[in-house]
């Protein structure tokens, strides 16, 4: 067998999306010498490379950019700060001793480092994962696939489309369809309202004539050579109807790309499905950190980037202290329905948690968030209007009084 190549660095970053690139730049700025980012795509930049609309960079770069310009800027900054980026290089597995294995066209590589930061992102659940029945013809997309199809390769899409989902990204899918001269017939959500911001839904309806069909569920897709129609159900009445389209875009419904983490043995949080971690991105395995949409899907790119910088700072602190801290012995944060997750979902009561991000499955007005430990209330906090598929942020001070000996903290809506 041909030998593997050996590479050594201080910190290995897996994934050159906004999170990985921002963390890598921050690591360099904090004095880490050899920062290596491995990216499996031919170009660094992550998902924004394919989002040809504006809306990137406001919180981290303090200006509004298109996805590709934003991605380019992050790559430029990383390279300028001395980060080494290897593209077209797939990290194939990780070991608890810190070894990583990767493949590219020059061979198979074994990489050693002092710490590994996972920033592998998130993907949209495709039709099959949502258990939509029927035939399996071409014409079924996810937004991510559609955007590469249209902007990346200029491939033909079809003529009439339904977008499944009505969160931010669903409106992005609608715009991509229009750009490709495909008629978006409607956005379809089984919830009782869309989950984006009012101006998006208003503009879709008013300027593009695209309604949001609420309380509507996709039952099946029919068509042998090509999508012919979609069977829809009114979830309130159970009534079925059929819509003739040749394109279906499944948008949103994100899931972290946790394969490497899970195979390594990193504990996943039952809510986010990302690695269970504290706000420093420490996972349950020492020396392995996580950042970006891998932790909790999905935030906007700038939020992912800013939080990744915090992870970089925590990582550098641990390296300096020679500490091998992990989230393993920390206090877990659990949620009760209708909350679906909270992050950070692990914390160390000795270091304050500044903010907690939350998600819920159902709409609701302003509510009280109640934190309990071992059945006892340890804090409460008022939260604003709750919209599924959008994060809510609350100050994390109430976690400071948790007692490490009393097990997990449970958050519920009072």
């Amino acid at each position: 067998m041909t030998r593997h190549n050996e590479i050594d660095c201080d910190v290995l970053v897996v994934g050159a999306g906004p999170a990985g690139l921002s963390a890598a730049s921050e690591l360099r700025a904090l004095g880490v010498v050899r920062v290596l980012v491995l990216e499996r795509e031919a170009q660094a930049g992550g998902v924004p490379r394919h989002c040809h609309h504006t809306g990137f960079g406001l919180r981290d770069l303090h200006r509004l950019l298109s996805g590709p310009s934003y991605a380019d800027e992050l790559v430029r900054r990383a390279l300028a700060s001395g980060v080494q980026i290897l593209t077209a290089t797939t990290v194939t597995s990780l070991e608890k001793n810190g070894q990583a294995h990767a493949t590219n066209s020059s061979g198979v590589h074994d990489i050693t480092s002092r710490a590994v930061l996972l920033a592998s992102g998130a993907r949209e659940r495709p039709r099959s994962a949502r258990l939509v029945a029927g035939d399996r013809p071409p014409g079924v997309f996810t937004t991510g696939q559609l955007q590469q199809w249209v902007y990346g390769k200029g491939l033909p899409v079809g003529t009439r489309a339904l977008v499944i989902g009505a969160e931010h990204v669903s409106f992005s899918a609608m715009m991509t369809l229009r750009h490709a001269h495909v008629k978006p017939v409607a956005l379809v959500t089984d919830l009782e309202e869309h989950q984006s911001v009012a101006p998006f839904a208003f503009a879709a309806r008013r300027f593009f004539g695209v309604p949001v069909w609420t309380s509507t569920r996709v039952v099946a897709i029919n068509g042998q050579q090509r999508v012919r129609e979609v069977v829809l159900e009114d979830v309130r009445t159970g009534a079925h109807r059929v819509e003739a389209v040749d394109v279906v875009v499944f948008s949103g419904d994100w899931i972290p790309d946790y394969e490497l983490a899970r195979r390594l043995g990193v504990e996943l949080d039952a809510g986010t499905l990302g690695p269970a971690s504290d706000d420093g991105g420490r996972t349950s395995v020492a020396s392995f950190y996580a950042a970006g949409n891998l932790l909790h899907p999905v935030e906007t790119a700038d939020v992912a980037a800013l939080r990744a910088r915090e992870v970089a700072r925590a990582l550098v602190k641990d390296l300096a202290n020679d500490s091998t801290s992990s989230s393993h012995d920390q206090i877990a944060v659990r949620v009760e329905a209708p909350l679906s997750w909270a992050w950070p979902n692990r914390f160390d009561p000795l270091s304050p948690v500044s903010r907690v991000a939350l998600r819920a499955k159902t709409f609701s007005g302003s509510r009280l968030l109640v934190a309990r430990q071992d059945g006892r209330e340890i804090g409460r906090e008022r939260v604003g209007r709750i919209v599924p598929n959008r994060s809510l942020s609350v100050a994390g001070a109430f976690l400071a009084v948790a007692d490490p000996g009393r097990g997990p903290v449970t958050l519920s809506l009072g």
Binding site: T92, D135, Q148, R262
Partner: protein, 475 residues
């Protein structure tokens, strides 16, 4: 290789249908000095029932003793097992475990063991509930006992058909794709087969048309059986579920079906299914909400943790069930016609034995079988199995050809070199389905979120077909 060209001189044998059965027959005949053409309605080999099954290499332990199926399955098991090793077709000898969940099923284990012995398989072993749990700790509550069937194995069904076809083609067998046979006439002792690509003439005719074997039988003026498609729906779970089971978990079978099983696949997924519902449309390969719901209910009891895992794909296949229990293989000697129908739920396993048997029948009836001087070479199939050395991990292969280090489909880790290989040469892929079956590209958990556009562009470039044609927009 004369893919797509109709020639004037008659062939010795025409085989209708390039499923696993038709291709196995072509491969077997190719070992003799016989000219053979395979006529296939679809654009690829193995694009019918043979692409959508449970992918198990059965020992035949639960066949009807004394049936033709029983003898061909147990012989086919050994033949294909050996061939797979030789051709590099992914195969894992995981063993099967039949689990009893109530007294009645527990009582049935002994008779199943006896039945296995009558089928010539004597390696089964009755296990206590504790032994079953020991082997499969993730089984649900209520296990009463089990029967171990150590020989049951899993195999790559796509590489199997392709290997047969490639071997046959390399020995001179012609494959006419997109050539549905719509009429059969007897003219001057020859079969004249009408296809959209012109008439094909042959001395002998083999009907291996699967779900359509009774229709083709009709074209030959026979009406010996009727096929009623029996749909089987299946769910493929994410590879991260693979560690939940070690072997093929089987229920106690009923008269009608082998029942819903939970099996690993050679690609490292977990398969749940199949259901069994009679349908009247031989194209009804859609999945249904009810079918998938039923499968999840079954899984919830058998391996409860499975239902929390992500689903990678769902699909359905149609068994060519007839009014009879057994295979319907008949020679019509005077007409130089062999019908190979009713190959219902074990055809993948039995394929090589069916081929041997059918070739024997043809020989008995007068087809001259002279062994070729040059034995056709066994093809070397691309390693698709997780237990094989996949290209992306093969430093030597990447050293020789850097395209094996360039991953295109990230979920399945399919490289550009593999996609190129699959599209080039004899029987190369020229549609997405064919590419997926040859490489697994786009078959993973993201179903094209990351690589869909790239794969379609690449396939278009390699096959010369437009993206619109590849995605059904041109018809």
């Amino acid at each position: 290789m004369t893919q797509g060209i109709v020639r004037d001189t008659p062939y010795d044998v025409a085989v209708i249908g390039a499923g696993v059965v038709g291709c196995a027959i072509a491969r077997e005949l190719a070992r003799y000095e016989v000219s053979v053409v395979v006529l296939e309605r679809s654009g690829d080999v193995g694009n019918g029932t043979s692409k959508a099954n449970t992918a198990i290499l059965h020992t035949g332990f639960d066949c009807v003793p004394g049936s033709l199926e029983s003898s061909l399955v147990s012989r086919g098991y050994h033949l294909l097992g050996a061939y797979a090793e030789e051709a590099g077709i992914a195969l894992e000898r995981t063993g099967g475990l039949l689990v009893a969940w109530d007294d009645e099923q527990q009582a049935a284990l002994t008779s199943l063991q006896e039945k296995a012995e009558k089928n010539g398989y004597d390696a089964t072993q009755i296990l206590s509930a504790a032994q079953v749990r020991d082997r499969e700790p993730n089984l649900g509550e209520g296990v009463r006992g089990g029967l171990a069937v150590p020989g049951e194995s899993i195999i790559c069904p796509w590489s199997t058909v392709l290997a047969y076809a490639l071997e046959a083609a390399s020995a001179g067998v012609s494959f006419l794709l997109n050539a549905q046979v719509t009429g059969v006439a007897r003219v001057e002792g020859l079969h004249v087969l009408a296809t959209g690509q012109g008439d094909v003439r042959s001395r002998w005719l083999v009907n291996a048309a699967g779900l359509f074997s009774s229709d083709v039988d009709g074209l030959c003026d026979h009406d010996d059986f009727t096929v009623t498609p029996r749909r089987g729906e299946l769910v493929v779970f994410d590879k991260l579920a693979r560690d939940l089971i070690t072997s093929i978990i089987l229920p106690v079978p009923t008269q009608r079906t082998k029942g819903v099983l939970i099996a690993p696949t050679v690609y490292g997924n977990v398969l749940l299914g199949p259901t069994a519902d009679d349908v009247d449309d031989p194209f009804a390969t859609a999945t249904t909400e009810q079918g998938i719901t039923r499968l999840f209910e079954a899984a919830r009891k058998v391996v409860p943790k499975l239902v929390d895992e992500e689903v990678t794909a769902t699909y359905a296949g149609l068994r060519a069930a007839t009014q009879f229990q057994d295979y319907q293989i008949r020679v019509h000697a005077g007409e130089a016609y062999v019908c190979v129908g009713g190959i219902r739920s074990t055809g993948l396993t039995a394929s090589m034995a069916i081929a041997e048997y059918v070739t024997g029948l043809l020989g008995d009836e007068g087809l001259e079988l002279t062994a070729r001087m040059l034995v056709p070479e066994t093809p070397d199939m691309a390693p698709l199995g997780e237990q094989q050395l996949r290209r992306y991990l093969d430093a030597a292969a990447i050293g020789r050809d850097p395209a094996y280090g360039q991953v295109v489909c990230h979920c399945e880790r399919v490289t550009q070199g593999e996609i190129r290989d699959a599209c080039t040469g004899v029987l190369g892929a020229n549609d997405l389905g064919a590419l997926r079956r040859r490489t697994r590209a786009m078959n993973g958990r993201c179903q094209g979120f990351y690589c869909g556009a790239e794969v379609v562009a690449l396939l278009s470039e390699l096959s010369g077909r437009s993206p619109a044609a590849l995605t059904g927009l041109d018809s």
